[in-house]
Each structure stands twice: as C-alpha cells, then as structure tokens.
Amino acid sequence: MTVESMSQTNHQERIGVYVCHCGTNIAGVVDVEEVARWAAEKLQRRGVIIARDYKFMCSSLGQELIENDIKELGLTRVVVAACSPHLHEQTFRTACARAGLNPYLCELVSIREQVSWVHTDTAAATEKSKAVVAGGVERVLYHEALEPLHVPIHPATMVVGGGIAGIQAALEIADAGFPVYLVEREPSIGGHMAQFDKTFPTLDCAACILTPRMVSVGTHPNITMLTWSEVTDVTGYVGNFTVTVKKKPRYINTDLCTGCGICWEKCPKKVIDEVFEAGLGYRKAVYTPFPQAVPKYPVIDHENCTYFQKGTCKACEKFCPTGAIAFEQEEEYLTLQVGNIILATGFDILDARRVAQYGYGRYANVFTSLEFERLSNAAGPTSGNIVLRDGMTVPKTVGIIHCVGSRDRNYNNYCSAICCMQSLKFAHLIHERTGATVYNFYIDIRTPAKAYDEFYQRVLGEGTIFCRGRVAEVSDVALNPGEEGKLVIQTEDTLAGRQRRIPVDMVILSVGLEPRQDAKEVAKLFGISCSADGWIIEKHPKLDPVVTMTEGILVAGCAQGPKDIPATVAQGAAAAVRVLARIQQGQISLEPVRASVNEELCSGCRICNGLCPFNAIMFHEDRMVTEINPALCQGCGTCVAACPTGAITGTVFSNEQVLAQIDGLLMHNVEPGPLEPAAPA
C-alpha cells in the first residue's frame, strides 16, 4: 500500500519512509498500514513525500521499491522501519547506493526486535512504531553523505588454541599461502581430541586421523607454532592487531633437542599428569604430554622439577646427548602483527566433584568420561586395558551415567551435545574389550547427526542395558544380597515406573562440557562477549556462527558452544575461509564513525585529552589545539560528549542527529502546525 503526501512542498529534503511487515513478524502486532499512512500525513511537513508498507522490505522486490522511488521521486533521504540495524542496515544502504543515493543517508529503525516482538498490545505497539519512525525521520535529516573508511588487512592470522578446531583453521589458511601463528598454552598441540581413543560413530582411531594433521602443522612453512605460550595483550583493530604472546620457558634449547626422550627416562621426579592423562596417569617433571606430541620437544615443569625446587639434580642435563637442557631460559614476550584472530580455545569438563551424590573422588571406581578416554586409550596409563582403579581388576558390570551436570539448573542448564554419543561409544568399547554388562542411565538419547542413531541401534543390539531416569545417587552401601563390595546405582526407572538399585563394579560419569575456566578473561582480552553460560557469542547463531561481534575476531569449535568433532572441524574451516576472503580483498571498509575537531572552536582546554584509550587524541602545544587521528579513532564518541565548546563532532552519531531523534521519539515533529525542517549542518 502506498500513501503519497497530499501536498508537495518545497522542502529541500525529500524523504521516503518504508514500513516492513516482515510477514506477520511485525504486521501481526503492529498496524503497519496505519504507521505508513500516518507517516505520510503527519510527517509530511518534515519532508516525507512518500510512505509505503510492504510484506518483506529486505526481499529483492522490497529493495527495488526503494530504488525506484529514489530514482523516480528523487528521494534524498530514506527511513526503513523494519528489523534491527545489526541485521539489515547493510542491505538497505546497499540498495540506496545502487540507486545512486549515498548509503549513509539511509536510516534503519527497529520496530521488530524493539516493538512487535516485545509488546503484545496492538494499539500501544502501533503508537510506539510511529514514534520510532518519527525519530528516524528527524534523525535522517541530519545525516551526511559519507564514504566508508578503508583499512588494509595484514596478511598474517593468529589462531589461538591448538586443538582440532585451531589445527583445521591454521592448515586451511596456511595451505592458501598465508602466514599463521598458532598459539597453544600446553606443550603440544592436539587438544582434547589427542586424549581420545576412538571417535564416534565410525570408531576411527583418534590418533590415526589427528596425528597426520598435527605433523602437517609442525612442518608447514607458513605456520609458526607457538606452543607453551599464551596471549597476554591485544591492541589495534581489524586488519591491524598487535598481539603480545608470552612464551613460557621450556628450559629446553629446541635448536639442539632431538626429542630422543632420554631426559624424561632419566628424570627421577614422577608427578600425576592432571592435564593430558586427566589425573589418571603419571608423567615426569620433564615431559612431552604424549608420544606423538608436536612439537617433539619436552618442557621442564618448574613447579615439580627437583633442580628448580631443591637446587640439585640436573639428571636430565647430565644425560642429554646434545646438551639441550637450558635451565637458564626465561619467559619471552613476542610482539606480532596480524590482520585477523581466530579463537579456538575449546572447553573444560565439569568438575565431577560438584555432583557429590555420584561420589567422584570418594569412591575409587567412579570415573569421569575423560578419565575413561585415557583408560581405554592404547597409549594411556593402562595401555588400553579397561580396569578398575586398582590397575588390574577387569569390571564385570559397568554403569554409565549420562547428563552429569548437564540439563540441570543446579549445574549447567544446557545439553552438552556430545555425551550421549560418547557414552554409547564407551558402552561399545567396554562390551567389545571386556564382555562386561553395561548399563546406560539416560534421560533422553540424543543422536541427531549422520549415522548417529544407527550407532545407537548397534549398541542396543549388542545387549547394552538402557535404563531411563536420572540417577539419584551412587554409594558403596550394601543393603541387599549381591551388593557387597559393589557400587550401587540408585535410580527410578521411569519407563518401568519403579525404583531400582543396580550394583556395578565401575561407574562412568558422562560429565558435561563447560567454557574454559578463564573464558571470561580471554573474552575481555580480545574485546568480545560471552553468553550467560560463558560460551563466546557469535555474530548470528545461525547465519554467522564463526564471527564475533568484534570485527577481525573469529571463533571456532567448542569455545562457541559444545559440539562434536565434525562440527568443530567445519567451524575451523569456515573461520579460515572468512579470514581468507578478507586477506584476499586486501582491505576492509569500516563504518565511517569517527570524531574530528573543529580547530576554530577548540579552546585548548584539554578536557578530552585524557579520555581516549586508543591514544587517538593529540594536543598541539604550538597552536594550543587538539587533533584526532582518524586512523586510531574507534568512534566511541566519549570525547564528543565531553567537549565543552562543541568543537568535537562525531560522524553518524552527531549531537544534532541524537537530539533530533529525541524530538522525533517524543513526537515533537507531529503536532501542531507547519515547521520547516532545520537545515542540516
């Protein structure tokens, strides 16, 4: 429907207003036709010469509507009332540009996220929509024609985290011919996947498929691996980040080390390996976490090394055939320039001790899923023999408890996505290797991906017993015959509708995935945000899952949320492609939101000088005026707000624009009588 203004006036601005139905998303609550009719009538004195409503403004037909009006009616300003500018601002700006109108003369106001989706009363929502449109019209009068800023993209990329997501991303970019820095805080890349024995549902050996990738990373001419290192500082912006990386001392001269392994053979200090072996095995004070580690060089664990703690020992140094031990090493800081950063920092597992009723830490034979991965791994502490914690007894019955700490408001409310399949994999492995009776205690079985449900059916066919219901507790209390010396799982079988006590030899807790303990600090370091759960927030959950809200910072793998290996690899590759596209463009255009100083008005008071965290503001002592460096300015506008003489102005969010929008939102521009729009500055 179209409403043309009754009388054409001679305003210098000719504004078109476009109200979107968004199907029923907006039109279901807001009377969109009334909004358009009202705008045409009431805002006509403000320069609105046409107002239309349309089913989907973002469709190509909707965009053409605007383009035609620009050409045919000579529009000089466009206001679209539709969804959030974070979604479609670019769409409508591009449409304007196609029709020859400077894209910054278009304003998108939200009547979906801010009106129809959050309000229910049609009358009130329609009134609010009018106010929002009026605000947009008033504001757009003060828009200026601008050109986007172009920023060159540094061709190097940093990937943080050397698990399978980071490995995939690094290889994709490096194979395309661009340099990558891969930062990993552990001594070797590989991440959680390197700890696993088999991968579901195909039961490929994790090491067999991962090791070649790790070797490729290690030998790739375009990849600089920075293991045993952590990012400590990030400055700059998309295209041009400066990252400081702390290289922790390895106490090994990697130029001399051959990775022969004599040092860890001779090291007298044995410690529990809490990281790679998940606390289930031992390592030495000088160690590589696992035989296929990349790089092959060990590290000396300062906390546990006898020499560092007591001043004598140096057994490793005595026996090292190449003289590679370097106790004198200190931490080193590298400053690196990169254009984009991919965060692939992974996950932690829930601390099973928090779920006290399952007895982890109190009962020897309660294991976490990660412990079981090591237990079943041929390279693990038991060489893949599935045994109880005494190191030798093979269990005859095993209970696997699903959803430990997941789907539970007392711990994590979300589904950890991988535990069902992981538990089924365990059931299969136990059955295959020990012949034990396996019970799965589950709430729901979730097997939605390719070949997953078929795997479930296979495990069902193997005779694994499934008991539906959340387990109440695990105890070693024998109340009935047959329970002596066993762990008893107490649960309500909700399909049978009764309480059951099931004695088992071994309990495996399929613990949920959690954001890294330091996820919040990492997010702060890189200037991005985490959800309430602690996972990194993506730009759009469906359409832009590997990009964060901060330009140039991308995310891949479980850092963004729990997911399985195929999804993790897909995200790693996707993030890499997004980065490659940027690098190949060579530059990126940015919103021209910048502050600038009118030297005529600047009184030299220097109030603004201390306000800029980006050091974009400098003061010219000779002329006693302040100047803003547009290359450093990030456009926050704090100095604009602070300037007492109004000498600093900010594009896109000028005082005039904001004040005019306030007037519009308060409907000052509607009633009564005629008023010429103030001439844009």
Binding site: Q357, D408, N410, R470, A472, G497
Partner: protein, 144 residues
C-alpha cells in the same frame, strides 16, 4: 506409596485431580528434601507435597487415614498447648491405629518414661490464647 513422585507430577499435568489427592504418596514424604536439591528443574517438590497434603485434608480426599490422623493429632496438641505432647500423641495414635501392636510398643513407651524422656502431662505455653488467635486468623486467610 502407590505412585512414584514422578507419576504424581505426571498425573498433575494430566489433570487427574482426584487421583492425585487420593494418592498416599504425599503422606509417605518424610521431608528429607533430596528431591528438592536434586531436581534439575528446581521444582520445590517437598513443598508441593505439603501443598497436596493440605489440599487433601481440606477436601477430605485421602483414602488411608493413618498419616493424616497423625498430623491432625499432632497439631491438635499444638493448638491446645503450644507445644508438642509426645505421650498423648503416642498413646492416642496407637490406640486408634495400632491397637494390635500396642503391647509391642509398651517397652518403648516404658523406657521413654523411666529414662525421663517423656512427660505424662503436657507443657502449656503461657500465652496460648495469643497463639490460638494467630492460628485462627491464619486459618481465615487460608480458606478465604
């Protein structure tokens, strides 16, 4: 217990009001609060059980009478004296519901008396009329 707590909740959802209020399940609740702290949806199950009990009492919908009678005897003493009265409660409850087992309970009662752990007469609080006024106002609020 004729239904598991889970079944009770399923019955509530299925709007089986009569069957829920007739069930003896809430009367088997010992208020150990395990369910409340373990519920993944943070349902205050123990409190729901209390509510079901009081609804059943109000509508006189319970089939088995032992537990409701015990609770009612217990609060009867509170309303009369302001304190619980174990001797009265135990004898009244036994004579009413466990006449046949009463001889077996005699040693326990005797032990309680000889060890000075039970009084033959109730203790009454000083301002019982104040408490009664409060409780009757509360009852008005509950039924209104």
């Amino acid at each position: 217990m004729d239904h598991t707590p889970r079944q009770i909740f399923a019955m509530i959802r299925a709007d089986m009001r009569d069957a829920v209020l007739k069930s003896n399940t809430p009367w088997h609740c010992v208020s150990c609060y395990y369910c409340t702290v373990r519920c993944p949806q943070e349902v205050h199950i123990t409190d729901v059980m209390y509510t079901l009990k009081s609804m059943a009492i109000r509508e006189k919908r319970y089939d088995e009478t032992i537990a409701p009678d015990f609770s009612q005897s217990f609060i009867g003493y509170i309303e009369s004296y302001g304190r619980s009265f174990e001797f009265g409660l135990a004898t009244r409850h036994h004579l009413r519901h466990r006449l046949l087992q009463t001889p077996a309970a005699v040693p326990l009662g005797f032990g309680m008396l000889t060890k000075g752990r039970m009084d033959l007469t109730p203790q009454r609080i000083e301002h019982i009329e104040q408490l009664q006024a409060i409780l009757s106002r509360a009852l008005e609020l509950e039924v209104s």
